[in-house]
Amino acid sequence: MSALELIDIRKRYGTVETLKGIDLSLASGEFLVLLGSSGCGKSTLLNIIAGLAEATEGDVRIGDRSVTGVHPKDRDIAMVFQSYALYPNMSVARNIGFGLEMRKVPAAERAEAVQKTAKILQIENLLERKPSELSGGQRQRVAIGRALVRDPQIFLFDEPLSNLDAKLRMEMRTELKRLHLMLGTTIVYVTHDQIEAMTLATRIAVMRDGQIEQLATPDEIYNRPATRYVASFVGSPPMNMLEATVADGIAHIDGSLSSLALPDDIKEKAGQARDVVIGIRPESLSLAATGDMAFGIDAMVEVVELTGPELVVTSTIGNQRLTASLPPKSKVTAGTAQRFAIDAGALHIFDKATGKRL
């Protein structure tokens, strides 16, 4: 039995279709991240799961029952909002216990549950305060506590960390991971932050234009992206995308004299002659000596930036860009020609017309 099942979910506003048939099945204890840029439909999908919006077509099943048309309160879900959505007039304790209060849980039992949750989240000393007296991180903990205390079948998170500063965001990310490991809850989590997705998820659904572009584990999303879109969305700096034409197993980089002899497995898939996009992750590139016969490519170095842990080198091949993430002490000079070795196993080839992986 799956904890959550989405069957052909569609959502239309007038003639605009924002969700174009989403199918998804989530096992109990999974941490699914819906990842995508703004407007891809990920929050709409979350709201449909929560019951805060109705799907135009399709069915949502939680546990073993259909919840289409069921009020949010009767879906056995809890939700954490981007804005925290704490009740400003209530104390932290009452905020956390409000869901139980509404479900007529006796006061003593309620207080005990609130205490227990506060302990897990380390906010026991804040229980009497009002939300306005809390910092952003503390508010986020309270919002999570409000969801946790109810022990629902599914937790829904709508970009919960995007209002926090970078340092706090990292701390809370670790905290969420810890909570998930500790409690084994089933989570659906919406974000546009690929780092959050990669670090938290057991599976990621990359969404685009109301459809799931790829649904896979973080490892697979990163190392075997199904489409050019997924490949360029995940990873920082983003994957290099070199447009090329394949002829007899050789990829000629468009707008340059450079070419790449494709590895055998890819050569077969690419066929005789076609337009492709070659994806190379910046960290799959390394420096090679000029004339080095190792698998690689020549480029003209334009900009060298030291970020601290790495040296980001931006070069050009004809009119196309190539970015490499190198060890910080690498010797590269802007304005010179440089040969980069490529980890052959890390080459991604996409069909230029369809964007699909070959």
Binding site: P72, M79, Y87, M90, M102, R103
Partner: protein, 293 residues
Amino acid sequence: MTSNWITTRAWLLMLPLLIVMIAIIGWPLVDTVRLSFTDAKLVGTEGNFVGFDNYVKMLSGSNFQRTLITTTLFAVLSVGAEMVIGVLAALLLNQQFYGRSILRALMILPWALPTVVNATLWRLIYNPEYGALNAALTQIGLLDAYRSWLGEPGTALTALIVADCWKNFPLVALIALAALQAVPRDITAASMVDGAGAWARFRFVIMPYLAGPLMVALVLRTIEAFKVFDLIWVMTRGGPANSTRTLSILVYQEAFSFQRAGSGASLALIVTLLVTVLAVAYAALIRKSAGAT
């Protein structure tokens, strides 16, 4: 620039307004106080100093006490109804539905009409011979024979309260609607997920956002209702049998109908004092509720 000059300049800039205010409010007020200690008539005599006689006479008279009860009844019932209807209307107009913006604009109309026009309209509706209310009630069978709503002491005050309510609930609705739009969507969504039904959501989640603005509406409306004059003057002139006579009407009758400027002035000051006490009490309440949220 020294802070001294800033203060001086502020006073200089305020001066024209101050002079006008003193001329049209300050001086008449002082003169009213003077008058209230005399037995002056409206025309003719300047009057002699009589000390607190006017105040004692007015406060101990049965007219004053009866009128105070009528005024309080009018203020409490009409403002109470306006608050309830106003909030309900705001909740309704805050929903998503076709034609919402037209309805929002239409709702303002009664409030935008001059009181005299409103009062005249309602006098027509209540008319004992050809009024719409009589016609409607007899046609649907709730009434056997036409009644004189404004002519019977038992119904006149209620009829006035209805008219006042119709005119003034839009103000409350407007204030409440603005406050409702400030309630974050996430918070109502969170309360739905938390299991709050419509009433619990209103009581625990929405009401805290409404409380402050509604308090302001309550203060404004209570003070206005306490001073009501034009609506009643046009519709009943305080009748029948003084059943709709409010304090302002009593002041008018005393000072102008009976031409007793002295006692009229003392009565007017008593009303002013009552309204001031109300205003101060409410202001304290507002401060308290603002501090709480």
